[in-house]
Symmetry: C2
Subunit: 227 residues, 2 copies
DNA sequence: CCAATATTCTAACGACTATTAGAATATGTC
DNA sequence: GACATATTCTAATAGTCGTTAGAATATTGG
């Protein structure tokens, strides 16, 4: 009620909190951490109706978590600050440490069917340097294009069946997607195993990998998002 | 609506966001990051009515951000995870980078009246090692007691007038309090200057200082909070 | 076991949020 | 300039949150 300066600052932080307080917006932020996107793409990928998507994006913009850029008739959204993704990972870390429910839920997705642990980032990096594994990025192609782990090949999940013939069978395949709340890579691993590959999962996404200081290939900002 | 496993995880994260979406709760978390506290202490220090405080604490507990411990008839709250404080600093960082308003607001509090910049943590540490400054912790005594910067003296703000006679006048005094959203230290600096001291402000609080890996003196958990 | 104290639970009000239909705006194309 | 397209704004409804009074619970000390 009394907006003293300290309260004013806290209220702005509370706005950020409020922006993080909805499933849909967290999903959108996770997407934006992968690549800048148009409203329509976001709506399609997240399965949120367009108008709701627009409304959620407005909240994110007003909280200072996202910004826009016009690209012709399209409006392209991106994270306002690279640190935003860290907020979500910090929340996930706390949730996993505190709540057995959340631990179980993420495990159910990410643990290998045969009970093997996902590959750690450090180990993957070592094996990549030695050329021991094939790393595939199973996100949609536009996300790969904007930023991917150095050395990864783009094999979007829906093209996996077609492209798996081209993958070398004499070494392990490691798949990754958007990170800890994304299930594309887990599905890919399951399918690859069924097809006879030695396949593993990397739980990290590009933003996590990048934050560890590991090499990421990034495309300069000038990209046209729609051709 | 359809609580698929991925949505279930996101909903738990959204609960954390919702818990961060209120001025009062951010204030409480900031307090808890300093020291564990009883409901009553929290209510007093934050000026939030007891019943509201209790309600907010319940939200924090249910989101997994705080936990309790009983101490006789008192219930003592503490952060459930040391990482929780990082969430708030990350939000503040984003807000300051994105919003000129927030920058101005925090500056108005923290910039020295004569326009000097606050002391940085690294510099303070160097000067402390050399014995060049007197470091005072102006938070309430119980917070100092539970954790303080190594080498700091406890001079709660309301005892400053009485104790300032004991401070050496031949070297600079540096004051700190809870961190970036706390104004005790800024007030202390202003008063010390008026009293003729060379006084500087440290913007960091104990949790920030600790996170940098700098030395903190911590009291083991067995403390009785009320004597 | 009773009283005293600290805290939480229950409930109810008003204030805010989510969703989404329909109108409005902005950009590009012909 | 008229038209098509992408997006946002306006508004209205249903649902959720904040606050706080009053009842209920838990612990300690007699």
């Amino acid at each position: 009620m009394a907006p003293n300066p300290k309260h004013a600052v806290l209220d702005r932080l509370a706005d950020i909190g409020a922006a993080l307080a909805h499933r849909a917006r967290l999903q959108i932020l996770d997407l934006l951490a992968q690549a800048e996107q148009t409203v329509e793409t976001i709506a399609l990928k997240t399965n949120i109706p367009l108008k709701s998507t627009s409304a959620h994006l407005r909240v994110l913009r007003e909280a200072g978590l996202a910004t826009t850029r016009r690209e012709g008739t399209f409006v392209v959204y991106r994270l306002a600050d690279p640190e935003v993704h860290r907020l979500i990972s910090a929340m996930l870390g706390i949730a996993e440490r505190r709540s057995a429910d959340v631990r179980d839920l993420t495990r159910r997705f990410f643990d290998d069917p045969d009970g093997a642990e996902p590959v750690t980032a450090t180990e993957l990096r070592r094996r990549l340097d030695r050329g021991e594994v094939t790393l595939i990025d199973v996100r949609p192609a536009d996300e790969y294009q904007q930023a991917h782990i150095a050395g990864a090949h783009s094999v979007p999940l829906d093209t996996l069946a077609r492209h798996s013939a081209e993958l070398p069978r004499d070494r392990a395949v490691v798949a990754y997607c958007r990170g800890a709340t994304c299930v594309l890579a887990a599905t890919a691993v399951r399918r690859l195993r069924r097809a006879g590959f030695t396949a593993h999962l990397l739980r990290d996404g590009v933003p996590d990998w990048n934050r560890r200081g590991f090499p990421v290939v990034r495309q300069p900002h000038t990209t046209r998002v729609h051709p």
